[in-house]
Symmetry: C2
Subunit: 349 residues, 2 copies
Amino acid sequence: MTWETAEPVGAKPTLRDVALAAGVHLATASRALSDAPSRPVAPRTVALVRQAAARLGYVPDQVARSLRTHRTPAIGVLIPDMSNPVMPPLVRGAEQRLAQYGYTTLFADTDNDPAAETKRLTMLLSWRVAGLILATARRDQPLAAELVNSGVPVVLMSRKLDATPVPSVTVDESVGIAQALGHVLELGHRRIAYLGVPQWTSAGHERLVAFRDNIASRGLTLPPEFVVTCAGYGEQDGAAALAGLLDRPDRPTAVLTGNDMMALGCYDAIRSAGLRCPEDVSVVGYNDMPLTDRVDPPLTTVRVPYFDVGRQAATLLVEKLAEANDIDRSVRLTPRLVVRGSTAAARAS
Amino acid sequence: MTWETAEPVGAKPTLRDVALAAGVHLATASRALSDAPSRPVAPRTVALVRQAAARLGYVPDQVARSLRTHRTPAIGVLIPDMSNPVMPPLVRGAEQRLAQYGYTTLFADTDNDPAAETKRLTMLLSWRVAGLILATARRDQPLAAELVNSGVPVVLMSRKLDATPVPSVTVDESVGIAQALGHVLELGHRRIAYLGVPQWTSAGHERLVAFRDNIASRGLTLPPEFVVTCAGYGEQDGAAALAGLLDRPDRPTAVLTGNDMMALGCYDAIRSAGLRCPEDVSVVGYNDMPLTDRVDPPLTTVRVPYFDVGRQAATLLVEKLAEANDIDRSVRLTPRLVVRGSTAAARAS
DNA sequence: TTGAAAGCGGTACCAG
DNA sequence: CTGGTACCGCTTTCAA
């Protein structure tokens, strides 16, 4: 490929130029360049045109093509915040699969701001994207549902809605929680706390609910204060929440958290209380973000296959687009507990 | 905003619909909706049209608009690998600024594969993007230079070319290295090793060169083996490189690395050699990626303002686009050493 | 198998 | 200030 045309800067060769150079009609050139096998074009003509196109460095104008065909090979991807460590693999997985199918990814980071989200969405829609992948959906957000009603194919990535069934690729949080809980129970812990992330996302909510259900179904009981919903996603939120619990005489000997950052906050709270992890308090994180194996102590956590979630989300959308029918399938992947050094057997109490 | 039109799914209202609804001519509707202040339109007409547009949920078709105006408010952003921890802030910064100026970000992750890069690039070019931000440039890569010649405005993000001066936003690596080196020298270290990342990127290269220059300009000498270029960017690469050095009787007492992952690899090598960090060997990383403050020991490293680099890259490109002239300005930001626990005073030797 | 021509949804120029 | 109209680059139907 070469962009070193001798023509004036910015003057990209058009199909007309190619046709002229090949000595054929515009329409013929179009057909010759088309991949559709049903086009009746003489092989010699095809060769001629293709050659001319290559020589001129012709790149078809997707804008013109889209206008004419009403089909735009572009997918909008909405991300709440790229600095959240679970997002990069999600985006990477989605973009890779989309590109593989010839789609361009229109990327937008909403910075967790609903107003920004609306603006970005309008922008994407103005491009007449073929579909949308949303990693921004909140449980109660009507936005995604509205989009679906408007006819734009939408797939939710790593999130779901409470009320409306929108195709999604998520993770079976109950499996992750069951494994995490099973692990600390096996280690002999009985006073177990759960520090949930904020509950606007389905993932965070499902984790907390799964914890409650698991506790109940195993016939265990816990002080109600042991299940807490934090105000934010950060280390401080986890630290603050756990600090309140460590003061109690019946303090928890193990704590499960809704994400890894909060788990690291627990490390701080434990240290501040003059205790140690895992000797005094075991900690289990969630997500298995990078470097959790390097912190001190290495974090036991639930590994979530985010790259696959992204890839599957793209796959699902591409399928919907291709089959043109309303397959409202959803996909659910399975997380897996990774045991490291932040959990240990409960002391004889 | 609402997408709940009563019309058949997929039938987005067009400007003609708006004009009809407002009882004005198509061209008038266009003018009324235009932001250009020079348009002579009666205020009442504007109100009428805007109202009709809102009622119908009209979103202008960017594709049609672009075709007509030859101006596409879209910028392609090429990333080598989103799972590299320096990339998310870069992308986030760029996208935020671009959106602020009304540009849509066309995102592509090339997976560090030149073939994929070419394909993705063609895809972006077919969209007639107004400009390109490349975080993929290698020092010798003619690709970026070709692009510039072809007339597409290009800005390099966090990278530069050896031969061709392309506008870029980078970091003054010599400052980072000088600070890191100054720090360990002050701590009394004299046998200092440098483990460089692969040298295809300007950043990695400049760091290594800066180290050599700094050593020389301070009148120090080092065994030539103390400056090594690793084969990859990973922990293993750093570990392997340092392991070879720790065997020597004159083993280094401090090591600077080209990135944080390699620094963590050094931790492993030091441990394997039966030594300790920082007591026996001090380690300085580069980038200050997330959680480096949480590893054991907390990593002393050079903090690079990647979010700003991304934002400035977008700013630079937007300026080029607006001023329409060939400002070939480049921007250079300054990194800053963050001292943590992986460096300590050299022992009396 | 190829040429001719319509038209996608806007913008911008020109006339009124 | 508003209406009429050419046209951006390409695909596609219809004739030749």
